[in-house]
């Protein structure tokens, strides 16, 4: 039984380490976000507007983004062992499946540590501590508060990716 991969992944971009001194016009800090270039990201967000904005943010950082708009779409795309997503940005407030449910299934059918999963949430600061706890317990790697800011998402992605590299 195989799940059909319904999305064209951009195969041509690979994760590269930049040479010292290399810089591009789109980066304010030439070396700090360069490792994000080519990062294969699955963006799971049901709201069209938020998805457009977040997608643009990620593309500006150099990521290769596959936009998905529901829990089931996400599981279809990420399920197969051949899918090459390195990071999943997961909206916790999806209309069809609970975000934690989606994360649990990814962890069960892929692996405990890959792909990296970052939760996106609009919860208030007061609810944040419990949310962080729950995310860690469910095997998520990080949390990003909405509305999403460029530096905020860059920092969280960097933290999570570097942490994963260290474990390996």
């Amino acid at each position: 039984m195989g799940l059909i991969l319904r999305f064209q992944l951009r195969q041509s971009i690979s994760l590269t380490i930049s040479e010292p001194g290399e810089s591009t016009s789109s980066e304010h800090h030439p070396n700090s976000n360069s490792f994000l270039r080519g990062l294969q990201v699955a963006l799971v967000e049901s709201d069209d507007l938020n998805r457009s904005v977040t997608r643009r943010l990620l593309e500006k950082l150099g990521c290769s983004v596959t936009p998905l708009s529901s829990g089931y779409e996400c599981l279809s795309a990420i399920g197969p062992a051949t899918s090459s997503f390195q990071v999943v940005l997961l909206d916790l407030q999806l209309p069809d499946l609970d975000g934690f449910e989606v994360a649990a299934r990814i962890r069960k059918f892929r692996s405990r540590s890959w792909p990296l999963i970052l939760a996106m949430t609009s919860s208030s600061a007061a609810e944040e501590d419990d949310l962080w706890e729950k995310c860690m317990q469910m095997g998520l790697n990080g949390v990003i508060r909405k509305p999403i800011l460029l530096q905020g998402i860059a920092n969280e992605l960097r933290r999570v990716v570097l942490q994963a590299n260290r474990v390996v």
């Binding site: 709201d47 507007l49 457009s52 904005v53 643009r56 609009s122 909405k146 800011l149 460029l150």
Partner: protein, 180 residues
């Protein structure tokens, strides 16, 4: 850069001095561009100052570049489509003769808050906070008032942004580029 001397047109048959003052000269192209840039900067600042827009909007503008030249306009269009849909849904829910489904209204308010946050529509986002309180206390009249305010602010912001885009177009027509 040489100063441009204003030379009024010859006084043909009885133009009064006030009329003469109203006749304008054609400034060189460079002046038009810098004037347009100043107009845009002033207008953008006023929108921020009056709370219509916040930093999130500035971020959207920074995300626009050659590879995505209409990004801001596209996102703004999406936003107003959302507003329209949500306002219609809320109006319908709130005009129910029997019990109002406040959960549905609250869900729409939540969505509107998210969208307005994402585009930097600060006034609308703030209205959603008050709106949510009315939903929580199941206050139909309060909700109706909030909805009317939201509707008013959407129309206002739409006009303001259309002016902003027009000013940007002026710059592009004068040979400049956006972002500045």
């Amino acid at each position: 850069m040489p100063l441009h001397h204003y030379r009024p047109p010859p006084n043909h048959g009885g133009i009064t001095s006030t009329q003469q003052q109203q006749v304008t000269h054609q400034p060189p192209a460079m002046d038009v561009l810098s004037q347009s840039r100043r107009q845009l900067a002033d207008y953008t600042n006023s929108l921020h100052r009056d709370g219509f827009l916040d930093d999130q909007f500035s971020q959207l503008q920074q995300l626009q570049d050659e590879s995505s030249p209409d990004f801001v306009m596209e996102v703004v269009s999406l936003f107003f489509e959302d507003c329209q849909k949500l306002v219609t849904n809320m109006a319908r829910a709130l005009s129910e003769l029997q019990a109002v489904d406040f959960k549905q209204v609250d869900s729409s308010v939540h969505q509107l808050k998210g969208s307005s946050s994402s585009v930097g529509a600060a006034r609308i986002k703030n209205l959603c906070v008050a709106f949510k309180t009315c939903c929580d206390s199941q206050n139909r009249d309060g909700c109706m008032r909030c909805l009317q305010e939201v509707n008013r602010e959407c129309v206002l912001l739409k006009n303001k942004l259309q002016t902003l885009f027009r000013l940007e177009q002026q710059i592009i027509s004068a040979g400049g580029s956006i972002p500045m």
